[in-house]
Amino acid sequence: MSQPNRRAHLACFTFPHLALVLAGRAHPELGGEPVLVGGQNQGGRQVVVAASPVAWAKGVRPGQEWRRAEVLCPLAVRLEVDRAQVAELRRQARLALASCSPLMEWGDDASAYVDLAGSDPLRPEESSRAAHCGRALQEALGVTPSVGVGPSRFSAWVAAQLAAPGRVRLVPEGKAAEFLASWPVTALPIPPEVGERLIQFGLHTCGDCTAITMVDLQRQFGPDGILLHRLCRGLDSARIDPWREPPPCGVRRVLAGGVEDSESLRFGAAELARGLAQELSRQGRAAGRIRLVLRGEDEPQRPSSADQQTWWGEVAPPTPLATADELMGPLLSLFGRARLLTPVTVVELAAFDLVAPPVTQVGLWQGRAADREVVQRAVDRLHDRFGKGLVWRVEVRPGHPGDVPEERFVWSSR
């Protein structure tokens, strides 16, 4: 069977479990020691949450019963997991990765995936993008992750396992099967009994399995045979489930029905720019970098990878952007670069590298300016005299709920 040419675009980041990272921060003297971090599972039983490499080598695995782990590694230092601290560290790490790419999937607190497809003019090479994400993750966690880049989740994960911390290991383009050939079948994400039967058949590595056709594997192992066939050739899914939490400073608009025409999308640019400018103004910040994300429709009948559903691009202007007028130009250029493969249903505009807004001098030519409190007192007197509803202040209601001014604005007498 011919090996299809699949571009390597999925990056996998592996790092110590977050609970171990926190344990290392709290007890730096435990480096190189067997450490078990435990906690209660959903059923209320004490289980292993994370195990250090020394404990791992003795057979301890996450999810194992605590008693079993104690038997396997009796000299291990036992610590209790602090779930609140883990959640906070997870949040920081997610934000760090999300600032590099919107197509990020968080794994099991010990790995993460990033789809490297997308538009990043500053880093055309996928390895440089992966390294950029790795540096961001390192900054957030305080530990150095290993990075693997491959055409599928499994091949990228294997590459990350083989890479040293702080290094990027690339699966050669179109040679995923050769790359995985020496990987043991017992380390494949398949049921253990399938692995044991493979050993009994004398198939010890992925390379051994590639010699067998998919039909034969399916006949022996059923659906697991098909999975095995794909894993050994690096043909497993390259799809990730992106982390959808909105960025700390951004706007998100859900379009009514899919939009296929980029010209039509540009009509919403001004509204997006105004929304982001309001958010920036509320936080008192300016954007050093803005990112536009266009998410497409997910068709269950025709599943597509994340890069087919989503387009994103970034602009880092020479000066920070704070107002809608300033945001409009870069935003239109991003819309001009947009490449739509599926109808767009969600448009997101986010600001990163937030800095203090540039100082502007306003109103120097205006002369006397009314004090807001003085005006408000005058308005109060008018309301006493003529009743409420004479003088209004209006504020844009987020989300454009209607067409008439009474619906588009929040009207208040104060």
Partner: protein, 278 residues
């Protein structure tokens, strides 16, 4: 001798000032004129330099005679349908609201504040008055002008019958006290009491539409001073008003330089014919 003549001149003015009791009928006449046409209508000696509220468009500021909309006075924007006068007024209000407070007295009760916002205005600085009766609107305009809003925008409908007779004069006094510029928009049939107190009248007419991507993205309009208490009328300029469109990089007013002879002639012909362009 350098300083002596100055003090002597001051003493001479003080002796002949209109506030002295012997002025009698003259003082009464001056007071009446100042009440009717606004404080400072009649001056002793040279008139004081009137300050203008800068619009941010130098071409427009240059033709008004006071580098902007005159403070303490009422200005008016006129023009036929599609002339751009109304939009110009909203764009000016938006420009002022970016750095100062603006009161919008909406006698029509139908103004969409989204227009001001679309031209880049700061709604936080805008106070929108929607009077149920005209006298409420005038009272609110006076109150807000006195406390120092920079611009009082009067969006007038047909208020010829309903405007209290003394309201325009009182507003003029309030504008002067608060150093506020008044701008009247719309209202073909305005009462005589208001019409005679208008200090500056700017007439707008459409030159042509600005197109982009096959769509109307703006309006090129001519603006001419048709009536002025500040200087000779007739000065004109050409502006482009960029409508708020999503793809528009620049929204609001833009200068286009002076009118050409042909454009002035076209404007004159339209005026003579009473056409809709002007």
């Amino acid at each position: 001798m350098g300083g002596f003549p100055v003090s002597s001149e001051l003493a001479w003015r003080e002796q002949r000032g209109p506030s002295e009791p012997e002025a009698g009928a003259l003082a009464l006449a001056l007071s009446s004129l100042n009440f009717r046409y606004g404080p400072g209508t009649v001056h002793i000696g040279a008139p004081p330099l009137l300050q203008g509220l800068a619009t941010g468009v130098s071409a427009l500021d240059d033709i008004t005679g006071c580098q902007g909309l005159p403070r303490g006075r009422i200005s008016r924007l006129t023009g036929g349908s599609s002339s751009g006068a109304f939009e110009l007024g909203l764009a000016l209000a938006a420009a002022v609201s970016r750095s100062a407070a603006v009161a919008i007295i909406d006698f029509t009760l139908g103004l969409d504040p989204g227009h001001v916002e679309a031209y880049g205005g700061e709604l936080n600085n805008c106070w929108l008055v929607r009077p149920r009766r005209p006298e409420e609107g005038w009272a609110a305009a006076r109150a807000l002008a006195k406390v120092g809003v920079a611009l009082c925008l009067l969006v007038a409908g047909d208020c010829s019958r309903l405007t209290p007779r003394a309201a325009p004069a009182a507003l003029l006094t309030a504008l002067s006290e608060g150093d506020c510029a008044g701008l009247l928009l719309g209202g073909r049939l305005i009462p005589a009491a208001l019409k005679e107190r208008i200090c500056l009248e700017l007439e707008c007419w459409r030159l042509n539409w600005a197109l982009a991507h096959g769509d109307v993205c703006g309006l090129r309009l001519g603006v001419q001073v048709s009536r002025s208490h500040l200087g000779a009328p007739g000065a004109s300029c050409r502006l482009q008003l960029n409508f708020p469109r999503p793809y528009q990089l620049r929204v609001g007013l833009e200068e286009l330089g002076e009118l050409t002879a042909g454009e002035e002639l076209a404007g004159e012909l339209l005026q003579v014919a009473g056409g809709g362009g002007r």
